[in-house]
């Protein structure tokens, strides 16, 4: 079966009423993945045997009304560690790596009794915006298999968009959940930094990384975020803020009436395609009709976000990826003469080009003589960008704009031009630098490809974003349209 015409609440109701068992649902999910994945290549590994066993156990215990996610399949991006289940970060470096512990989010999903059906493809170590940097395969966009799914959580986005799973987890360092959600016409959130524990997320840029859910609809997204959020002793940057039941706040009465929304003029500037601009202006009109005020505002330093980000994220990555040295785990080169050779050859053979580029940029930015001009400067510009957001969010409930300047581009179109690829993240990166929550949801189409809208909120105010997203969803039908994968829907 596919998950186009259902949601988590209906699946839960069917499971509680025993219209379907979790084992039947899980088996049908694998059958559908096997039928559709050759076309889209969303998955790196399936977890069939263990998943069916877990589903049977859940059926035997019975699913009660207070376990809203129990018995429902979910997919995880392959940089989230899963005990006993191969976790590769889509790198040759970790091609045979089997973790000995579960990430906190993996554990939390298991406590909620969700069924992990498999691990999804991604850009190697989450570095990239097209999933073309995977060492293993290129995932296709659910809407057009000649287009990229976006990245780096491209496998998770395509898996949800093509109806293979009702929900998936991704990670977002500079847009890696929001941009693929946008390219695939689904909902994705980058939560506030610290909302979700990063324990067991293979580290890329530790001051920027957050895990978040990708789903068909806003309410489903809210349900999964509540399940994975909260303080964790294993991640000392995770927040002690209370976790609301986000989905419980969404109903027919949910409204944006009286809200003040900021639409930064920089978000509609040069580089943003006409169709994307039109979709966002139409969305602003929808919000006005629903009783909100939309003001033009300014984030004057937005354009410096990409430069600051590629210094900071690459510096953190160059440090985080030092651990891959060919000694304790991961790839080790064969033809080596001495210890230095083990390090250099293992890293040079085990990492792909984009990962090496980031390590080089980071090492350069942190090296003697360049630290002040690059790393320290970027860390100060980060403060300036944060202050821009603070000023706007002081008297606006949230900020709206596009997710990406264009819809999905062609496979192979930008992979040889890293700078062009980096500029695709100009509207998502500043949100990571500032640690704010960002929600991506469907807001239109351009030549039959989805266009996404981004809502950016105050720290730990995911509630407002979900309410605004839900109100938009209730008054538009973009989220109801689904791709015709071989005409199966």
């Amino acid at each position: 079966m596919n998950y186009f015409k259902t949601d988590l609440a209906s699946l839960h109701a069917d499971l509680v009423a025993k219209k379907i068992s979790s084992k039947e649902l899980t088996q049908a999910t694998f059958d559908n993945i096997k039928a559709t994945d050759p076309k889209v290549d969303a998955f790196l590994n399936l977890n069939e045997e263990a998943a069916l066993k877990q589903a049977a156990e859940i059926d035997a215990q019975g699913i009660s009304a207070d376990q809203p996610l129990a018995g429902i399949p979910v997919a995880l991006k392959d940089n989230i560690v899963t005990k006993g289940m191969k976790t590769t970060a889509a790198s040759k470096m970790l091609a045979d790596f089997t973790p000995v512990y579960d990430a906190t989010v993996t554990e939390k999903l298991a406590q909620a009794q969700m069924i992990t059906v498999g691990k999804t493809n991604m850009d190697e170590f989450a570095m990239g915006g097209s999933t073309e940097n995977s060492a293993f395969k290129t995932t296709k966009n659910a809407w057009d298999q000649t287009k990229v799914p976006g990245g780096s959580s491209g496998g998770s986005a395509t898996a949800v968009a093509s109806g293979q799973v009702p929900a998936a987890l991704g990670s977002d360092t500079g847009g890696s959940i929001r941009q693929p959600a946008s390219f695939n016409g689904i909902v994705g959130i980058k939560p506030t930094y610290g909302r979700v524990s990063r324990w067991g997320l293979i580290a890329f840029g530790s001051s920027l990384d957050q895990i978040g859910p990708l789903t068909h609809g806003v309410k489903d997204n809210a349900s999964v975020l509540s399940a994975i959020s909260g303080h964790d002793d294993h991640d000392l940057t995770s927040s002690t803020q209370a976790v609301p039941d986000f989905a419980a706040e969404l109903n027919e009465a949910t409204s944006v009436k009286g809200m003040r929304i900021g639409l930064p003029k920089e978000f509609l500037a040069e580089g943003v395609s006409d169709d994307v601009k039109a979709a966002i202006l139409a969305a602003a009109d929808t919000y006005r009709k629903l009783g909100a005020t939309v003001d033009e505002v300014s984030l004057p330093h937005n354009k410096y976000g990409v430069a600051a980000y590629y210094i900071i994220a690459s510096s953190e990555a160059s440090s985080n990826l030092q651990r891959f040295d060919g000694i304790r785990y991961g790839y080790r080169a064969q033809d080596v003469q001495n210890l230095e050779d083990v390090y250099v050859k293992s890293r040079s053979e085990g990492f792909g080009d984009e990962v090496k580029r980031r390590i080089m940029l980071g090492t350069f930015s942190l090296s003697a003589g360049f630290y002040d001009a690059y790393f320290l400067k970027a860390a100060k510009v980060r403060t300036v960008i944060m202050n821009d957001f603070k000023a706007v969010l002081k008297d606006h409930d949230f900020i709206m704009g596009p997710v990406a300047p264009t819809p999905a581009f062609g496979i192979g179109a930008e992979i040889k031009d890293p700078l062009t690829m980096y500029m695709n993240d100009v509207l998502t990166i500043p949100v990571n630098l500032a640690g704010l929550p960002g929600l991506s949801l469907p807001a239109g189409f351009s030549n039959n490809l989805p266009v996404g809208m981004q809502l950016i909120g105050r720290p730990f105010d995911e509630s407002t974003l979900y309410k605004a997203g839900y109100a938009f969803e209730q008054n538009t039908d973009f989220h109801l349209q689904v791709p015709t994968l071989g005409g199966q829907n």
Partner: protein, 102 residues
């Protein structure tokens, strides 16, 4: 071309990062890195006089916890991930460069 970073500097940084590149890779990487560093240099347009650097956006400061071991006793599972292991140890190639003895 390549006025912000040259081939020799790229090789120097590669050495620091424990990476090596072929000549063809250096030909491709050097101008790419040069372009990206050109983007980095646009940051000099931003006035950051008196601005503090941000290194963390977490709302947690100085978090303490008990130093208690957990999830231990998995040496066999851990050794399975090692590229080479013997008798409960990770095996590495000889670390002394024998070619240097000559």
């Amino acid at each position: 071309m390549a006025n912000r970073i040259n081939r020799e500097q790229v090789q120097h940084v590669a050495g620091l990062a424990k990476l090596e590149f072929t000549d063809a890779q250096l030909d491709a990487f050097t101008p790419q890195l040069d372009d990206i560093i050109g983007l980095f240099e646009t940051l000099s347009e931003v006035d950051t006089e008196g601005v503090e650097a941000t290194s963390s956006v977490s709302d947690q400061l100085n978090v303490m916890r008990e130093d208690v071991a957990d999830n231990w006793g998995q040496s066999q599972a851990l050794l399975k991930n090692a590229p080479d292991a013997a008798r409960g140890f990770i095996k590495v190639p000889a670390i002394i460069d024998e070619s240097e003895d000559n």
